[in-house]
C-alpha cells in the first residue's frame, strides 16, 4: 500500500500555492456536519435499549441504507484522498486500487454476507465459533479483529490529524484528539445506530463531492470525453512538466521503476485487496444490522453500485488533476503530496466554497470510518472475549455486554489517540493500512470460508489458520522494506499477501487434517448449513 497515506509525513509541511487553512466557510461546514451528527447521536441514544440495539442497530436498517453505510464504512480517506492523489501522480497503477476495492465485494456477496447474517449475532467470530470450540476460536478471532481494527484506526487517525491540520488549521494533536473524542461520542452514546447514520450521510456527501468534482473536470475539457482522454494520455500538469501518458501501466509498479519484483508486488497487492475486504471486521458487522439475509444481500448490491460508481469517477478527478493542476500546487517540500490533490483541485475548479465542501467531506469520511472501526473492535472484545472467553457465554447481568463494549470503546479510542500522537504525523500510515488488509485476508478469510464450506474443519485448524495468517502477515511486513531497519529488509515485497494468504489457508488445512476428527463440530455442520442457507433460527429484528 505505498500510495494512500504514505506521504502523510510530507503533508505536515507547508504546501506551495495551497488554499489557506481555517477559512470561515470551511469552519462553518465542519461545525455544521459535527452538529448534525451530534443530533443524530442524541436521537440514536434514546433508541439504544438492549444489546441488539447497541451492537446491531436493532437489525432494523434497510437494504439501501445499509448499502450506503457499507460504502461509507469502506471508502476511507485513503480511498478518496489517497487514490485521487495516486492516480494524479502515478496514473494507471493508482487506478488499480479502484478496481480491487470494488471487485472485492464479489467475495463479500457470494461467500460471507448471508451465512454471517444467518448464523451470527454481533461479530465475525460468531460464525467461526458456531460449531467449533468457542473459547480458543473466539480468543484468536478477537485478537485478529482488534489487530486489524487498531492498525486501520491508527492509520486513519494519523491521516485525520494531518489532513485536518491542513484544512482547518488545527494543530496535529488537537485534530487527532478532536476526531477521537467525536468518534467516541458517536460510538459510546449512539452505538451502531448513530454510527450507521454518520456513515450514510458521509457516503451521500462523498458521492455528491465526487460527482461535482468529475463534472467540473469534464467541463474544463469542454464536456468532451475524447478531449479528456487525449489530455491524460499526454498529461503535462498544466504545462509545467514534459507530457506523460498516464494511461500506461507501470509508472509505480513497473520493472523499470520498482525493479524485478515490481509486478509480483502488484499481484500480491491485488490479492490482498480482493480477499482482504471480506475479512475486515468493521465491514462484516454491518451485515448484522439488517433484518435478514435477503436484505444483507441487497445491501451488498447497493454498496457495489455506489462503490463502483465512486471508483469509476476517480478516473476524472484522479487522472484529470494531472491535466489541470501544476506540479507545484501538489508538492510539499519538493515531494508530491497525494493527499492534497482532491482538495486543491476542488479549490482550483470551484473556488473557496467548493474547497470548504470537499474538506468537510474528507473530515466526514474519516469520522465515519473510525466510528465503524471502534464499533467493531469494542463489540468483538465485549462479545467474544469478555462474555464468551472469560464468562463462558453466560452474561452475568443483563446489559453487562453493552457496558463492557462502551468501556472498551473508550480504551480503544484512548489507545489509538495516544499511539497516533506518539507516532506523530511522520508515521508511514500506508504500512498500517497494508497490514490491516493483509491480516484480514490471511487470517480471517481462510477460516470464514472453511468453516462454512468444509465439514471436517476443526478447532485446531481454525486457531492454526488464524494465528499463522496473523503472524505471517505481520512478520513479512516487518521484514519488508517498510519494516524497521535493524531487520535488514530481507523480504522483497511490500505486500505480503501472495505468501501469507496461502499460508493462512495451508495452516487451517494442515491443522485440521493432522489432528483427530471432531465429531461434535462435524455433527453441527448440518445445523450450520441449514441455518446459513435458510435463515432458520436467525437473530430477529427488534421492533421499535
Amino acid at each position: 500500500m505505498s500510495i494512500t497515506l504514505s506521504m502523510l509525513a510530507e503533508a505536515a509541511a507547508q504546501v506551495a500555492a495551497q488554499p489557506k487553512a481555517g477559512s470561515p466557510i470551511a469552519l462553518t461546514m465542519f461545525f455544521g456536519f459535527v452538529g448534525l451528527t451530534l443530533l443524530i447521536t442524541f436521537w440514536a441514544a434514546k433508541k439504544n435499549t438492549g444489546a441488539s440495539a447497541y451492537f446491531a442497530a436493532g437489525r432494523s436498517i434497510t437494504g439501501w441504507q445499509n448499502g450506503l453505510a457499507v460504502a461509507g464504512d469502506y471508502m476511507s480517506a485513503a480511498s478518496f484522498l489517497g487514490i485521487s492523489g495516486a492516480i494524479c501522480l502515478n496514473g494507471y497503477d493508482g487506478f488499480m486500487y479502484s478496481v480491487g476495492f470494488l471487485v472485492a465485494y464479489i467475495t463479500v456477496l457470494l461467500v460471507v454476507a448471508e451465512p454471517l447474517r444467518n448464523a451470527g449475532k454481533y461479530t465475525m467470530a460468531d460464525l467461526l465459533a458456531y460449531r467449533l470450540k468457542p473459547r480458543p476460536v473466539r480468543a484468536m478471532a478477537s485478537l485478529s479483529t482488534l489487530t486489524v481494527s487498531t492498525f486501520y484506526m491508527i492509520a486513519q487517525m494519523v491521516g485525520a490529524g494531518v489532513i485536518i491540520e491542513k484544512l482547518i488549521g488545527a494543530s496535529f494533536h488537537v485534530a487527532v484528539i478532536g476526531v477521537g473524542v467525536l468518534m467516541l461520542v458517536y460510538v459510546v452514546f449512539g452505538g451502531m445506530l448513530a454510527t450507521t447514520w454518520v456513515q450514510i450521510i458521509k457516503a451521500i456527501l462523498l458521492m455528491i463531492g465526487a460527482f461535482m468534482l468529475s463534472f467540473l473536470v469534464l467541463k474544463h475539457h469542454g464536456y468532451s470525453i475524447v478531449n479528456f482522454f487525449d489530455s491524460i494520455s499526454a498529461a503535462t500538469y498544466a504545462g509545467t512538466e514534459a507530457a506523460k501518458n498516464l494511461l500506461e501501466p507501470g509508472l509505480q509498479y513497473g520493472k523499470a521503476v520498482k525493479g524485478p519484483w515490481g509486478p509480483t508486488d502488484f499481484l500480491s497487492l491485488s490479492l490482498a485487496l480482493v480477499l482482504g475486504t471480506a475479512g475486515l471486521p468493521h465491514i462484516l458487522v454491518r451485515f448484522y444490522t439488517v433484518p435478514d439475509a435477503k436484505t444483507a444481500r441487497s445491501s451488498v448490491v447497493w454498496a457495489m453500485a455506489i462503490i463502483g460508481i465512486f471508483y469509476i469517477l476517480t478516473t476524472f478527478f484522479g487522472f484529470g488533476a494531472a491535466t489541470i493542476l501544476q506540479k507545484a500546487q501538489i508538492l510539499s517540500d519538493g515531494k508530491p503530496n497525494p493527499n492534497m490533490v482532491a482538495p486543491v483541485l476542488a479549490q482550483f475548479l470551484g473556488g473557496e466554497l467548493f474547497f470548504a465542501f470537499i474538506s468537510a467531506v474528507a473530515f466526514a469520511t474519516i469520522l465515519a470510518v473510525v466510528a465503524g472501526l471502534t464499533m467493531s473492535a469494542s463489540a468483538s472484545f465485549a462479545h467474544d472475549f469478555y462474555s464468551n472467553v472469560i464468562h463462558h457465554g453466560k452474561e452475568n447481568r443483563p446489559g453487562q455486554e453493552v457496558k463492557v463494549a462502551r468501556i472498551t470503546a473508550f480504551v480503544v479510542g484512548a489507545v489509538s489517540i495516544s499511539i497516533a500522537i506518539y507516532l506523530g504525523p511522520s508515521v508511514n500510515a500506508a504500512f498500517l493500512v497494508g497490514l490491516a488488509f493483509a491480516v484480514a485476508a490471511s487470517a480471517n478469510l481462510p477460516v470464514i470460508v472453511l468453516s462454512v464450506f468444509w465439514k471436517r474443519f476443526n478447532t485446531t485448524g481454525a486457531t492454526a489458520g488464524l494465528s499463522v495468517g496473523l503472524a505471517s502477515a505481520i512478520i513479512l511486513i516487518l521484514l519488508s522494506k517498510n519494516g524497521p531497519a535493524f531487520l535488514g529488509h530481507p523480504f522483497p515485497l511490500e505486500n505480503p499477501g501472495i505468501v501469507s494468504i496461502p499460508l493462512g489457508f495451508l495452516a487451517a488445512y494442515l491443522g485440521t487434517i493432522l489432528t483427530k476428527r471432531d465429531p461434535e463440530a462435524e455433527a453441527k455442520f448440518a445445523e450450520l448449513t441449514v441455518r446459513a442457507h435458510t435463515g432458520l433460527g436467525a437473530e430477529k429484528a427488534v421492533a421499535h
Partner: protein
C-alpha cells in the same frame, strides 16, 4: 437458540433431498463464479505486470487495452452480482419451502 419454540431436527432438514440439491446447486454456482472472477481479476495485474507493451496498445482513440480491461472489471463485478441476485431469489423460495413446517 432462545427464539426457537420447539427444537428443530437439523439433521433431518439437512438430509432432505430438496435441501441437498439446493445446497449443491448453490455451491456449484458460487465455486464457478469465484474461479471465474478471480481468474478474470488476477489476469489484470499479470498482464499489466508482465506484458505491459501489449496492454499499452491504443484501441479507442488514446484509450489503451489496459484501461479498457480495468474498466471491464467493474462491469464484470456488476454482472456477477446481478446473476447471483437473480438466482438467489429463486433459491430463497426453495429454502423457504424446506423449512415451511418450522414457521
Amino acid at each position: 437458540m432462545s427464539d426457537q419454540k420447539s427444537p428443530v431436527n437439523w439433521d433431518a432438514l439437512e438430509a432432505k433431498p430438496e435441501f441437498r440439491s439446493l445446497v449443491s446447486r448453490k455451491t456449484r454456482f458460487i465455486v464457478s463464479a469465484t474461479i471465474f472472477f478471480m481468474a478474470y481479476y488476477l489476469a489484470l495485474p499479470v498482464l499489466v505486470g508482465w506484458f505491459p507493451e501489449l496492454m499499452k496498445t491504443q484501441v479507442l482513440g488514446k484509450v489503451n487495452i489496459a484501461y479498457i480491461f480495468a474498466l471491464s472489471q467493474f462491469l464484470m463485478a456488476w454482472i456477477i452480482a446481478f446473476m447471483y441476485v437473480r438466482k438467489a431469489s429463486a433459491w430463497d423460495k426453495e429454502a423457504a419451502a424446506v423449512i415451511k413446517d418450522h414457521h
